[in-house]
Amino acid sequence: MASHPLLRHLAGEDGIRRWAFYVPVAFMVLFFAVPVALTLVWSVFERTIFWMEPGFTLDAYVNFFTSARAENYLFSMIHSAVAVVVAFTIGFPVAVFVRRRVPTAAQHRVILLFIIPFMISELVRVFALRPVLGRNGLLNSLLMKIGITSEPITVILFSNLAVVIGDVVSFLPFMVFAGFLAMEAIERYVFEVCDDLGSNTLRTFKDVIVPLAAPGIFAGSVFIFVNSIGVALVPTILGGPGAVNAGLMVNQAIVALDFPLAMAISAIMMLTLLVLLFIGHRLFDLTKILQPIN
């Protein structure tokens, strides 16, 4: 038993067992709070030719906003937002379908099927799109064979469209999982009431399901958005000449040994996420995601 009053207070009457609750806190401080704080501190350090030295300068931020990097970042956000919309359009109806039409006993098994793609390396998943979308790929071969086009469609690979396709393919399960969890929180009688009142499918979806599942949809959207702007793989493999997202910009700054700039871009990414979470919380009360399902 701890003898110091502070230790006694922290450990409480349960002694060592209570310390177990501090382990996650220590983990978060060490592996989340400290790296975030260091990112912010290093972003204002002075750049040296091969490294950086302590100081205070906003040079990295000035460079970000006065070079084409801000433009690239904005494009990256737009592409990511489009990917979120497409993922919602495809993924959320899947979640609704599973929740409403699949027998309860089988629902979780069906949802687990969406984990299977995550067992394959993301590099392989994204690279596998190349022989599908390429000039001589499966899709173009099929379209030409059935006479829809006479020449290969080139805009589906090495383009912004290809990046959006890659993001959706990579991150769609996030929308399905989050959407399904949100749907689980909606009582079944809600759907029965809608049916009894003669509400058609579209209206039930638009006016009942989406508002009730909004916190879950938002959570899934945030996961997809953050991955889309941060995972460098997709624009590298599927993007057009010089395609970038924020993650790739950080990567390139590090390769050029511009560490404060890399930290500044990372800090801006974090700020973007915080703003998104704030907006989401104001609109949808994100604490609902954490409420237990009755």
Binding site: S67, A68, R69, N72, F127, G134, N136, G242, A243, A253
Partner: protein, 394 residues
């Protein structure tokens, strides 16, 4: 044993010995637990020859090697060696010449070399002599800090079957006839340098040193690339070995500025569908090399002799012939041609023909007047990266 006297029989004996040791529980040259082994941080794909592991290199050098895989990223080396524990972990490190030796030597983390302790230094290519075009790639403030291992003049791969001619100018890459069927590397270094060489040598722009451009010169090159990009000239910019191979082998592009190794692998993968070849551009090419350096920690631990033994292998025709025949990297020593001819037991007729053909084309590429040696850290690096961001945003 003299490196040049190395024979197939000796090689078989050594590999047999290596196999015997492996069978009894240890493979020389690969165990990181070896106490006296030279701890080498290197790219296993391109910095060794002769066997799948480091055993042939270790046998040649008469040392044990405990190798750790390393990427080609400059930031990785700097972080590990300058602010990390690289000096504790490694006795020797490899990297790009023309910058990394300056970075590491200026930070005091690598040791100057006594080249008299490397017998094969006498074989080194004349470009590395003091005042030669590549002397800066192994020296810092006039002192030798690195031994060159492999090099190449990066040029253009093309599909001869589709084109029907052999391009000999970078101009083809920017020809509207091939709009949307060309690619360049997604790296501001080689792409801006090769474009600068083209603009300079063809008289389109006034550029003093394509390897070390002034900000307004960087701007000129970037604006040219932006103009080409806006016209839809490029299909994409490739990044990574497999990415580069796939672009050519799949027929997605007809030509691309690439590494020669990519060209060789793409040619094999394309089979009869394409005839992928590697050209020589009359304007010139960016030439790069990889170097091996002795760390301060390695020196302090008394591993300097082991380093010199390994450096001696890297400058031997034994290594040069094999790296040339394998991935097509340029040997850094003279005498490869005669070595190959003198060792028919190691190199059959087909391999001899291949090695000599690649060597001849390489020599022709090296002789182009407009070539520029790689500069990893040009003095206006920020201008390069800022303008590259504009190329990306265009």
């Amino acid at each position: 044993m003299n490196q040049q006297q190395f024979s197939r029989r000796a090689f078989l004996m050594m590999t047999a010995a290596a196999g015997a040791v492996a069978a009894t529980g240890g493979i020389p040259g690969v165990s990181a637990a070896e106490g006296d082994a030279l701890k080498l941080w290197a790219n296993p794909g391109v910095h060794k020859v002769g066997a799948r592991d480091w055993s042939a290199m270790a046998s040649q050098a008469g040392i044990e090697i405990a190798a750790t895989a390393k990427s080609a990223r400059a930031d990785e080396s700097i972080q590990k060696m300058v602010v990390g524990d690289g000096n504790k972990l490694f006795d020797a490190v490899t990297d790009n010449g023309g910058g990394m030796e300056d970075a590491l030597a200026s930070q005091g983390v690598i040791a100057p070399l006594d080249t008299s302790r490397i017998p094969n230094w006498k074989n080194i290519l004349p470009v590395y002599n003091e005042g030669g075009p590549a002397d800066h790639t192994i020296r810092f403030e006039g002192q030798v800090f690195a031994t060159p291992m492999i090099a190449n003049a990066d040029s253009m791969s093309y599909d001869f079957k589709a084109l029907g001619f052999h391009p000999d100018s970078w101009a083809v890459l920017f020809d509207p006839e091939f709009k949307g069927r060309v690619a360049m590397q997604n790296d501001f270094g080689p792409t801006m340098t090769n474009t600068a060489i083209y603009l300079k040598e063809s008289g389109i722009a006034s550029i003093k040193d394509p390897s070390n451009m002034e900000p307004d010169e960087v701007r000129t090159v970037a604006e040219f690339l932006i103009e080409q990009k806006k016209k839809g000239q490029f299909r994409t910019f490739w990044d990574g070995f497999q990415n580069g191979v796939d672009l050519l082998a799949s027929g997605e592009v007809l030509m691309s500025s690439t590494w020669e190794a990519i060209s060789l692998v793409a040619a094999g993968r394309a089979g009869d569908k394409a005839d992928i070849r590697y050209g020589t551009m009359k304007e010139g090419h960016q030439i790069w090399n990889n170097i091996v350096m002795l760390t301060k920690g390695g020196m302090e631990r008394g591993q300097d002799q082991a380093y010199y033994n390994l450096a001696n292998v890297y400058l031997s025709p034994w290594f040069g012939a094999r790296t040339l025949g394998g991935l097509g990297f340029a040997p850094q020593m003279t005498g490869v041609e005669s070595y190959v001819k003198d060792h028919p037991e190691d190199f059959d007729d087909a391999m001899q023909e291949r090695i000599l053909r690649i060597l001849n084309s390489k020599n022709a590429r090296y002789a182009v007047k407009g070539n520029a040696w790689q500069n990893v850290f040009p003095k206006n690096l920020r201008a390069y990266t800022d303008w590259w961001a504009r190329v990306q945003a265009a």
